[in-house]
Each structure stands twice: as structure tokens, then as C-alpha cells.
Symmetry: C2
Amino acid sequence: VTLSAPAMRSLIEKKRAGLEHSREEIEALVGAFTRGEIDDAPVAAWLMAVCVTGMTLAETAHLTAAMAASGDTLTWGDASVVDKHSTGGVGDAVTLVAVPLAAEAGAKVAKLSGRALGHTGGTLDKLECIPGLRVDLGLEEFKSQVLRVGCAVAAATASLAPADKKFYALRDRTATIASVPLIAASILSKKIAGGAPAIVLDVKHGTGAFMKTPAEAEELGRVMRDVGERLGKRVRVVLTDMNEPLADSVGDALELDEALAALSGGGSPRLRSVAHAIAAAMLECAGLKSGIPHLGPEAFAKFVEMAAAQGGRLDEFDRAFKPARFIAAPSSGYVQRIDPRTLGELVAASKAGLPIEQARRTGLRLRKRTGDKVERGEPVIDVFETGAPILDLERLAASVTIGADPPASRQLVRALA
Amino acid sequence: VTLSAPAMRSLIEKKRAGLEHSREEIEALVGAFTRGEIDDAPVAAWLMAVCVTGMTLAETAHLTAAMAASGDTLTWGDASVVDKHSTGGVGDAVTLVAVPLAAEAGAKVAKLSGRALGHTGGTLDKLECIPGLRVDLGLEEFKSQVLRVGCAVAAATASLAPADKKFYALRDRTATIASVPLIAASILSKKIAGGAPAIVLDVKHGTGAFMKTPAEAEELGRVMRDVGERLGKRVRVVLTDMNEPLADSVGDALELDEALAALSGGGSPRLRSVAHAIAAAMLECAGLKSGIPHLGPEAFAKFVEMAAAQGGRLDEFDRAFKPARFIAAPSSGYVQRIDPRTLGELVAASKAGLPIEQARRTGLRLRKRTGDKVERGEPVIDVFETGAPILDLERLAASVTIGADPPASRQLVRALA
């Protein structure tokens, strides 16, 4: 299938007029763009037309399938294989906890992950704090570990949905990221290429998430579920709050440490709660309703087994952290707000340019959460720096709001109806 | 002024949200794009956002001014200097008649023209049928001829509004041509750079024009008038019908021949009528209300003088045309419709690949017009071919509709209220 310049122009005109593309049209566009047969500029115009006039579920499914088919794909032949994805947040260490938890309860978890993006952390970066641990598993190695150990967390290779990578880079340059069908197709194309028959999607909403409101998250979740189902997948969507950091920790090694604590039943109750809900959704989605996920020594052992299978020497990971500084409550009262985006940005900015070992151990840990009562001068957030002070303490202090009354409580996690 | 990638992204986001750009923002975008400092792709996304969300008159004026200022500009210091522009049609030989007519009545006509585009003819191509005639006048040569002879018709040089040329090429590739503010800015930027204080705009509507309905033409005309006035120009807009070819002739040499006839008071009454209205608007706009344009030997002489000033030897132009074939009325009745777009496309296709002299003399001449009564077998359109038959006679015949009753009459020309 090729796409001439006049044919591409017709596609743009059609989308600009808000008309629906056929499967053949979308396949031709994705194929020609991925092979470099059409320039970026007409595709950029088409993307903007999509942003403004939208796409139907059928079109979104065609786009997802075409991007998924643009590179290598995995097949499993095992109905209990499940993948998960989070739309990204701050202190979001859920994968590190939920994956071994679901695996321990019987699921085969084939998790393909990404790196840090903007103010959000990356699961791969956190995992790599374990000395020796490799995330660049080949597809066959990945598959074999999932079936043997019960879980693996690996980097999505360049050969997986290469069309999505090309589209994403162009969208980033042309302010066409924000579009529900384009976001849905981007996320799902990688999951479809990964081949798991069951997919759990953690769609976050709030100031630290891409989707600001529960309604926006619901819309994205609904589109992803419908599109996934059109493409033959079993999909569960969980909506979670991201108006404050999920875990108490923000920073690669600190989050890994807290995830390890959570696996044994410790750490922030918020992290445990969301990880438990996600693991339960994974089991249900994988058709294992009888499996009840349980945090404890077995779940921790499954993590150790997974890490070891990927070359990780967990006993060499130093879990002793000592805060260098802290910010104190400027007045007595209740914590009203801890802005997750600011915390994510501050940690990302502090890491930039540091040697990798120091960058990994840079971060924050909340000693108070939204709704907690504090006394003036009491520590609210601990700051972890391995060298000279680099974190902007003034901005960090400004990210916390203390008020006289306790704030209204927010629902942390709920399933999409 | 430079424009970073994040700043460009912000501009796209702003326009996508339908917000108004400042003058500084538009100047930065036009400057950076024209100097090649930003890629085509983000500009393509911005153009599509403009197509869908529009631009205010202020933004359109900023865009027009920035594109006009991107290259050489002319200044006149004479209030009677006037320029004109037609949005393009079939058999549109108006410039060849109206320019000398207005000049003879006292205006100084500084007409910068273009080439054939798509199914529409180009004034420069028609003028060049005169042996020796040059249209590539330098800006100083152009200026001096206008002031000395009273008129000149020259090619807009590459140095005039180069930003518009770059934008237009990108719009053509990205299906972002159809946008009232972008069309208005493109047309006016060249007129503003040309420097005439008075501008007459012939906005055509109908099946052979870019604007299909009178309402669309009115909208474009109103925007161009308002933007021109914001930029300190006197502007008159004339709306003309393009639901059938304007002149009886379609084809470079045939149209030149008919224009010469019109200058002496002959040729198609439609061509004379529109040319007269345009010349009157030019005189009024140039502040010469007392000058009444009159077709006759003086107007013809002014054309001869202008052509000679540009090196043209009009006496060597062969005005003897002999039709090679014709299409006949398939039934008796009234001519309901003669599709101008088909005629324009057929002539353009027939010329393609021919030696230039043969291409120029290829064309059509209507022997019947919409509303005329015809008998079955009577010639409706004469076909002029200098070599082997190449024009698709079947498609030509299909462009003519004969019916039992006379069609409703249409207003040929009116001023924008």
C-alpha cells in the first residue's frame, strides 16, 4: 500500500471535515508514514485535524491495530497472560508491587515498561537501582521468563510498534499529544503488540497526571477499554487519584525501597491499596477470580525471583536512606495539598547531570500526607541528596499548603463502571 | 526574534484552543518559518489549527503585514496608484481590459500578476502571447513604467512576500488552503508589498471559482476589505459570477484576442461588463470619481502603449483563429449550464506537454451562453487545436446541459455592501 501526495491531501481534508476514515485509509497512512514515504508536515496537519475533530472508536481501533502491526509482535497461547499500563504519575511504584503480587497469585504477568517522561518516574529506572538487573530482555527471553517465573518487567524494544514511536515524536513537536483517541491508540498499540490477551489500565487523574479530572480519565479509560475489546482483548480499567504523590517516596531508589516494603505489607497504605486493586484487576482480567492477592513474604519472594531472573542482586541494593534536609510546616493545621507535579519536576531537575548512582538516590519522602494534622516546625517532606544541596527548597515548600480545616477526602481508587 | 521549539508548541496549543495571537507572536512565527528556523511539521499543525478555529481580523492583519514585510516592498507616494486582484476563474481576461481602461481614465495601475493555477488561467501567460512582451520587470522598471505610461502588468518577483510563497507551498501539501483568513492574508500580503494605496478585489463565486457560493465570496471579500483597511489601504470589493466562463474564450491566445476586441467595444458583453465594473471601482478607489472609463480606441491605444513599453510587438500577434472541431447541441432547448471548471481543466490538460506556441493557441470559444436558445445539432463550443486532436470532446460535451426551459438568470457583478 502506498499513499500519493494527493491521496494524503484527501485524507487530511476528510478528517478536517470530521468524516470517518476506513480501515484501508488508516493502514495506508500509518504504513506510508512509518516507511518514510510521506513527510512529517502533512501528517502533522492530519494529527491536528484529529485533535480537533476526533476519531470514532472504529477509527481508533484501526489506528491502534495498524501501529501494533508495524513491528515485532508477541503471541502467547496462554489465557492467563496479563499486561498492565499506568498513564503515569508521581510516586507511582505500583508496577513493582502489583506485578509480583499478581504473579504469586497465579497470573502470568508480561509487563513492558517505559522510562521516566517529564515529571513522572519510569518503572525501568526504578528497577535498575538493583545492581546487575537488566531490562533489555530480548522478546524470546522475556517470553520464556514470564512463563517460567510468572512475571517479567522489560523495556519495550525499538522493534515493538515502531509506528507509535514515530507518531509520538511528531506529536511532541506539534502540540498534538492531547487527544483521547491518539493517546488511547499510542498506549494500546504497544500492549497489542505485546500480545497479552488481558490488559489492566491504571488511568490516573489529578494535578500530577495527564488527565486533570475524573471525567477526562473516565473518557480515556472508556475509549481504551472499548478499543481493546474491539481488538479481541479482555480489558479492565482502574481510575486512581493523582492529586498528591501515590507512594510516600518520589525518586528511583526511594520508590524501589518503598515498593519492597509494600510487598512485605509496609510502606504507604496508599501504595499498597492501589497495588492491591491493580493486582486484583489483573487476576480477574486473566480469568483467575479465585486467586486472592496477598501482600507478604510470598509476594516479596516472587519479586526477588523476578529480579534474580533478570540478573538483579537485590542483596546489594542499599536500603539505608538518610535525609539531608527537610521542609517544615510553616504553621500548624491540616495538610491541604501536596502538589505532585512540583515534586516530580523538582526531583527530575535535581537528578539532571548527576552521576547515575547519585541521581538514583536523589529524592523526597513525605512524612505527612494530605489530611494529616501538623504542628508548626514539624517536618513535612524529607529531602535526600547524596552530594551538595541541589533541590530547590523554596519551590518544594511552596508545593505544600497548610490550612485550618481538614480537606475534603478524595476517593483513591475505583473501577471504571 | 527567534522562536524556540517549546515556544512554537505553545503557539500551536494557543491556536488549537481558539485563542488570539498577539502581533509579536505572529511576527515571530512568520519570521522563524521564513528564515527556516522552524520545521514544516509544527507550522503545518498550526495551519490546520487556524483552518479549524479561525483567526480574528487583528490576527489576519498581523499575518498579512508580517508576510508583506518578509521581502522587498514598493512605495509610491502617489494616491492615484491602484492595484487589483481576482481570486481566479475561467475565461477571466478582466485584467487585460480593466487595467488599460482605468489607466486611460487617469489611474496609475500597478498590477502584479500570477501564472495559471489549476483549472484557472494566468494573466501573465495570456500577455506573453504577444511576441517580445516581458513580464519579468524589475521593481524599479515596473514602478517607472506605471508612473510614465499609467499602467504595467508584471510578474510578482520571488523577492516580493517570500513568506507567502513558503506558506502557500506548505498549505498546498497539507490541505490547509481552504481557510478565509489564510486566503485573505496570502492575497493581501502581495498587494501590501506592492505598495499601492488603493486595491480592488474581484472575488468570484460559483462552480469555476474557489468560493462556491455568494455568501462565501462575501465573507472572504469582507475580511480582505477589513484587513486591508486596518493596514491603511483603500479597498473596494466586487463580487462576480463564475458559474460559467466569464469571457467567451478559454485559452491564452483566444482570451488575449477577445480582450483586445473588448477594449474596442466588442467581444463577450459579460467580459466587457465585468471589466467596466472593475475599472470603475479602481478609479473610485484611487480617488478619481470624475473619471468615467470608456471602452474604445483610447483604451485600446493604452493597451498597445503598455504592451510596447514591456517590449511587446502586438502587430505580430496573429488574431486569426480557425476552429478545428466543435461540439453540437444534442437536443433543442435552452443552455442550462456550461461548467467552467471542466472547460478550464480540459484546456489545461490539452496544453500540457505541447510546444509553447501550440499550447498558447489551444482553447475553446463559446458560441452559445447560458440562457441561449439552441437547435439540435447547432455548434455550442468551438475547439481550437493546432496539431492532432487532443481535447476530450466527450467530457466537453458533458459539461453542457440543455433543457426545455430557460434557466433562472444570475447577477453577473455587484459591489460588496
